[in-house]
């Protein structure tokens, strides 16, 4: 990286977090071993250092956790909403208090930069609990009729890209509405969920209301399959989402799915270029592009393509890739070897199909899982890298001439999660937004999240909304 000046290392202290050598499953308020004694290791993706050994939940454990949640449901759902609210407010406050510890933990286990966990993940996690805490005693006002009832036991399976934030998106509305939960964190990022178990203890949350079961896909499948689960909430890949949709067919389980995306970030010729460049960078390189709503397809109006790409390449050359705990790091590690190989193979496919690959000069650390920011030009809609979700720091650039063409290309996807529009003209923003088949449309900004704002996809990006008043519906018998 040719730089006018170098940054001194500025690592955040690891001392703020104390990771135990091993963790159990969290069932009925207690940490416990898996029935069959299985464990797995979780590593820091930036160094491959083993962080801890975690119990791996099997079918028997799933059954135990669901029974605990069922038992807790009776009292929890009968509590006045104002009392449930106060538990959730406590949790929100404890998360705020412990946010630096959790940010460092999340960065260690996930590999994303501390700048993101500290300034995005953790503030959003606390805010999400704070927001839904307030709903717990206001459900009569939420637009679902008087006294809407909870569903029962919620089985929740979350991904590794925003481990604690996805936990918050799942648990906060579920508890606010009076459900109890069994949550399975991703196998590569179980630690923050286990720390959350400790937060539940500090908050005095009744036993069994929250149960945490680390494990792999089979654990998640067993949870989804369990006959006494009333609600299934899943965030993850579209392939698994479809499998879950098949699994719950013929049952009474209510389902919400938040799946993949191939977001189009549309830049018109009148857009403020510098802001658009920042938005494009945020759109695809935030969290190493491991974001379901990433702006992974850049649709740029032909007349400004050269100017925009020059600017964008210049900007990418200034991104700092490296130690995720360094406060100046922009690009952290890829979450796992498996994900790295998926990104690598899709990028190779992009080259093989004839797109033009570019990356800034960028030295990758020798240990850990890393992928340089990558940009593809000469991409057509037929290319795999324009169609499949890569879930990595890889941007596919396509061009358009007219707004209609931009809309047509943006909508030419199995997905429909997010989109971006960059133009100075308000009426164009609104006209284009009206035509986009996507659940979230950002105008002159990208990757903005707020607990009050519903999030979720069209088409094969899943169904149901998380966040906002709308997010309550997923956990109510309405």
């Amino acid at each position: 990286m040719a730089s006018a000046f170098e940054y001194a290392p500025a690592p955040e202290s690891r001392a703020v977090v104390d990771i135990a050598p091993s963790y159990g499953l969290f069932i009925d308020g207690e940490f416990t071993e898996a029935a069959d004694g299985r464990v797995f290791k979780t590593v820091s993706p930036s160094t491959e250092e083993v962080l801890s050994e975690v119990a791996q939940a099997g079918t028997e454990d799933v059954d135990r956790a669901v029974r605990a949640a069922r038992k807790a449901f009776e009292k929890w759902s009968a509590l006045p909403g104002s009392e449930r609210a106060k538990y959730l407010f406590r949790i929100a406050r404890i998360i705020q208090e412990r946010s630096r510890e959790l940010a460092v933990l999340e960065t260690l286990d996930n590999g994303k930069p501390i700048k993101e966990t500290r300034d995005a993940d953790l503030p959003l996690v606390a805010a999400h609990f704070f927001y839904y805490a307030g709903w717990a005693d206001k459900l009569d006002h939420a637009g679902f009729g008087a006294n809407p009832r909870p569903l029962g036991v919620a089985g929740q399976v979350i991904p590794w890209n925003f481990p604690l934030l996805m936990l918050a998106w799942k648990i906060a509305p579920a508890l606010a509405t009076g459900n109890t939960v069994v949550l399975k964190p991703a196998e590569t990022t179980p630690l923050s969920a286990l720390f959350f178990a400790d937060i539940c203890r500090q908050a005095g949350l009744p036993k069994g209301v929250v149960n945490i079961l680390p494990g792999y896909g089979d654990t998640g499948a067993a949870l989804v399959e369990h006959p006494d689960v009333n609600k299934v909430a899943f965030t993850g890949s579209t392939a698994v989402g479809k499998a879950i949709a098949r699994q719950v067919a013929g049952t009474k389980k209510k389902v919400t799915l938040e799946l993949g995306g191939k977001g189009a970030n549309i830049v018109f010729d009148d857009a403020p270029i510098d802001q658009a460049v920042e938005g494009i960078v945020t759109g695809i390189f935030f969290n190493q592009g491991q974001v379901c709503c990433a702006g992974s397809r850049l649709l740029v109006q032909e007349s400004i393509q050269d100017e925009l790409l020059d600017s964008l390449k210049r900007r990418l050359s200034t991104l700092r890739l490296g130690d995720p705990l360094d406060k100046n790091t922009d690009i952290g590690a890829i979450n796992s070897a498996e994900q790295l190989s998926r990104i690598t193979s899709l990028v190779e496919r992009g080259e093989a199909e004839g797109a033009e690959r570019w990356s800034p000069a960028c030295e990758l650390p020798s240990a850990g899982y890393w992928f340089a920011p990558t940009l593809f030009t000469n991409v057509t809609q037929a290319h795999t890298i324009a169609r499949d979700e890569i879930f990595g720091p890889v941007l596919s650039v396509l061009t358009f001439r007219t707004p209609d063409e931009a809309v047509a290309k943006a909508n030419n996807s199995q997905y429909g999660l997010s989109a971006g529009i960059w133009t100075e003209k308000g009426s164009r923003i609104l006209a284009v937004a009206n035509k986009l088949r996507a659940g979230v449309v950002w105008s002159n900004t990208f990757n903005k999240f707020d607990p009050t704002s519903p999030f979720g996809g069209y088409k094969e990006s899943g169904f149901g909304r998380e966040g906002g008043r709308h997010g309550l519906e997923a956990y109510l018998d309405v």
Binding site: P80, S82, A85, K86, F89, A127, F130, Y131, A133, G134, W135, A136, D137, K138, D140, H141, A142, G143, T402, P403, D404, K425, G426, S427, R428, L430, A431, V432, N434, K435, P451, T452, G468, R469
Partner: protein, 305 residues
């Protein structure tokens, strides 16, 4: 006997608190220098409270107006955090308020505690409303044309509240919290006979990250303070909870001069712990703003984007 007397003599003499107003984040005495005697339900002296003047009332309006920009411009999330902080601070000073409420209203400690608990929970209730009320009373409107059309609630401005005369604390909180939750600033006239819990609340608000001037607490003769405020041209609304029928009518007439939003007297002393306070006191002090913007109707060519 003599032993007992000795013990009594040894008992430490307590330190009385000088109760002061809370205006613009500070604790002034009345500019008039006047005080009046506050007694408990049995007529025993409790404290001398400031007897606020018209000038104190006008100063409070200036403070409230000054605070309005910042407070109404704060994010709803931030306001919610601060209201919740008030609940946290109150929880820690519960004993003091239980004592003051018991003295003021002639309640047993346990009955006073129920009032205080309910008041704390009321702050929590309204803390949760700050970032939800717009989602309940606002929204997009499907107008018959190529327009984006969105209605959102906004705070009305500076609100004068005549706190309930009987329920010195729960009643007070029940009328103050909803006003500031949505971003208004407030001048509250404490219960005339029982102003002490209100004046003490000022001390809690001052340590709850609430910006100075958002809540201003005045004690004194309700009619004397309310009359200039009802006529004040820089006040946007008035809640007559603590006015009797005669005063309420008089103030409503004065308020008509600049078309203040008026909430007529109604029972707010509901101490039922689990009662749902509703959203009426939130919406009473909200304006609705509707914004139109063309969406650029799609022509056949798409050229009208």
């Amino acid at each position: 006997m003599s032993e007992k007397t000795e013990k009594t003599e040894q008992r430490r003499l307590s330190v009385f608190k000088t109760y002061k107003l809370y205006v613009g984040g500070k604790f002034p005495r009345s500019e008039s220098g006047r005080v009046y005697e506050v007694t408990d339900s049995k007529g025993e002296w409790l404290a001398n409270a400031p007897l606020s003047s018209r000038k104190d009332a006008r100063d409070a309006v200036v403070a409230a107006r000054k605070a309005f920009g910042g407070w109404s411009g704060a994010t709803a999330y931030n306001r919610g955090q601060i209201l919740y902080r008030v609940a946290e601070m109150l929880e820690g000073r519960k004993d003091q308020f239980v004592r003051e409420v018991a003295d003021a209203e002639g309640l047993s400690k346990s009955k006073a505690a129920v009032q205080v608990d309910a008041a704390i929970d009321r702050w929590v209730w309204y803390a949760g409303w700050t970032d939800k009320i717009a989602q309940v009373v606002g929204g997009g409107n499907p107008v018959a044309g190529p327009f984006f059309n969105l209605s959102t609630p906004e705070p009305t401005g500076v609100v004068v509240v005549l706190a309930p005369q009987k329920s010195s604390f729960l009643g007070l909180v029940s009328v103050v919290a909803p006003v500031i939750a949505t971003g208004n600033t407030v001048i509250v006239i404490a219960s005339e006979k029982s102003p002490l819990p209100a004046l003490s609340l000022g001390e809690v608000l001052a340590t709850s990250d609430l910006p100075g001037g958002v809540v201003n607490v005045l004690s004194g003769k309700t009619a004397e303070i309310a009359t200039p405020l009802a006529a004040h041209q820089d006040v946007n609304a008035i809640d007559l909870a603590g006015a009797d029928d005669v005063l309420a009518k008089e103030l409503e007439i004065a308020a008509a001069d600049n078309l203040k939003r008026v909430v007529r007297p109604q029972a707010v002393d509901n101490a039922d712990y689990f009662a749902n306070p509703g959203i009426e006191r939130l919406t009473a002090f909200l304006e609705t703003k509707t914004v139109w913007h063309p969406t650029g109707a799609l022509g056949a060519s798409g050229s009208s984007y």
